[in-house]
Symmetry: C2
Subunit: 187 residues, 2 copies
DNA sequence: GATTGACATGTCATTGCTTACATGTCACCT
DNA sequence: AGGTGACATGTAAGCAATGACATGTCAATC
């Protein structure tokens, strides 16, 4: 269901777009919020056309099909935004690793945490680059107010920073434990 | 793959357990980290038995099968913890709603944010209850140090708090925008 | 003229996951 | 004796998602 919504949202933002454009859109702006490859997008667009949520407005060069959203599509999107209670299945590989970490020896656990931290630093850098790019783009036009995707980007940035902090604190905590263990048990 | 890991992890923690026990375990402790119903767990246990990662150690009353982890299973779990780079597909319905929020009118967007906030407050309460229960349990025994699931619970709590903060700030920001709009356009 | 690479759209097999169906045991209460 | 509800294990249909396969156009470079 959510894939449909994401597509309808992008289509609203773009006015009209091809499957290819939307695939690129997923790689860029929405990537940190929802993911989908072209092999999922093309069939979904076909289904949505059959359901009357989008239409092929025009066909361009190289078999390019340009979709645009229909009133039914707009209604569907609106209804989801207003009425949908997010219950997204909590599935996080990072959290799972964190959960199981005490199964490892302290040294090994520290290594894993360091790797996780590096990973998060990369992600933070990506998101900050994205924000910088957005700000540069919006400075050119005189647009003001909250723009498409801004709130989600802010949320993403905050969450990555929180995760980083957690990793730091977890490393410190395990580090303390390791040294007291050494002191208590100098084998 | 991650389901296998979660099962191996729980099995290590419990020593040995039936499919039913593991299903309950998913509802309780791991719920905020990974989810799975019994219809996914039973077949997976069968496959893992075939692959030699677990064995049926005993059969109890009511057809109860008690599984325990094998050395191969332990190795698999260890290898994943140490070597797996978490790349978990970023798919969050909350973030998607946040992303698309500017498509709504300010008033409607504020309503959605309030609902999200309530939702997050419930989740926060759940996690805090879980933490309280854990602390009570560990106070009875004299266990010290970092326990199974503690780090993940801490991460979860921090992330929910961050999300709540974000919601509050987003509400404030949209609220300001709404009042300036009224002032500029008193139709 | 040939190759490279971005553009552009699709299918298919497999795996993961959800929901519903289906069956049966055992303890306790009435 | 019958009902309820926790215990216990499975199967099957169908949707969602991934990764690999497959095909073809067009512009620019070599």
């Amino acid at each position: 269901m959510s894939l449909r919504i994401a597509l309808l949202g992008l289509l609203t933002a773009y006015g009209s777009a091809s499957g290819y454009d939307l695939t690129k859109g997923f790689e860029r702006s929405v990537a940190h919020v929802w993911q989908a490859g072209h092999s999922q997008i093309y069939p979904e667009l076909a289904k949505m056309t059959a359901d009357g949520l989008v239409t092929v407005a025009a066909e361009g060069a190289r078999g390019r099909k340009i979709y645009s959203i229909t009133p039914e599509g707009r209604a569907e999107l609106r209804a989801w935004l207003i009425g949908h209670d997010p219950s997204g299945p909590a599935r996080s590989e990072v959290a799972l690793q964190a959960f199981l970490l005490p199964l490892l020896e302290t040294r090994e656990a520290l290594d894993v945490l360091e790797r996780l931290k590096t990973h998060m630093e990369h992600k933070l850098a990506e998101l900050e680059a994205l924000r910088a790019a957005k700000q540069a783009a919006s400075a050119q036009e005189g647009t003001s107010g909250v723009r498409f995707g801004d709130l989600a980007l802010d949320l993403g940035l905050r969450q990555v920073r929180t995760s980083l902090q957690w990793a730091d604190d977890a490393i410190a905590q395990l580090g303390r434990q390791a040294t007291t263990e050494e002191g208590a048990d100098p084998s």
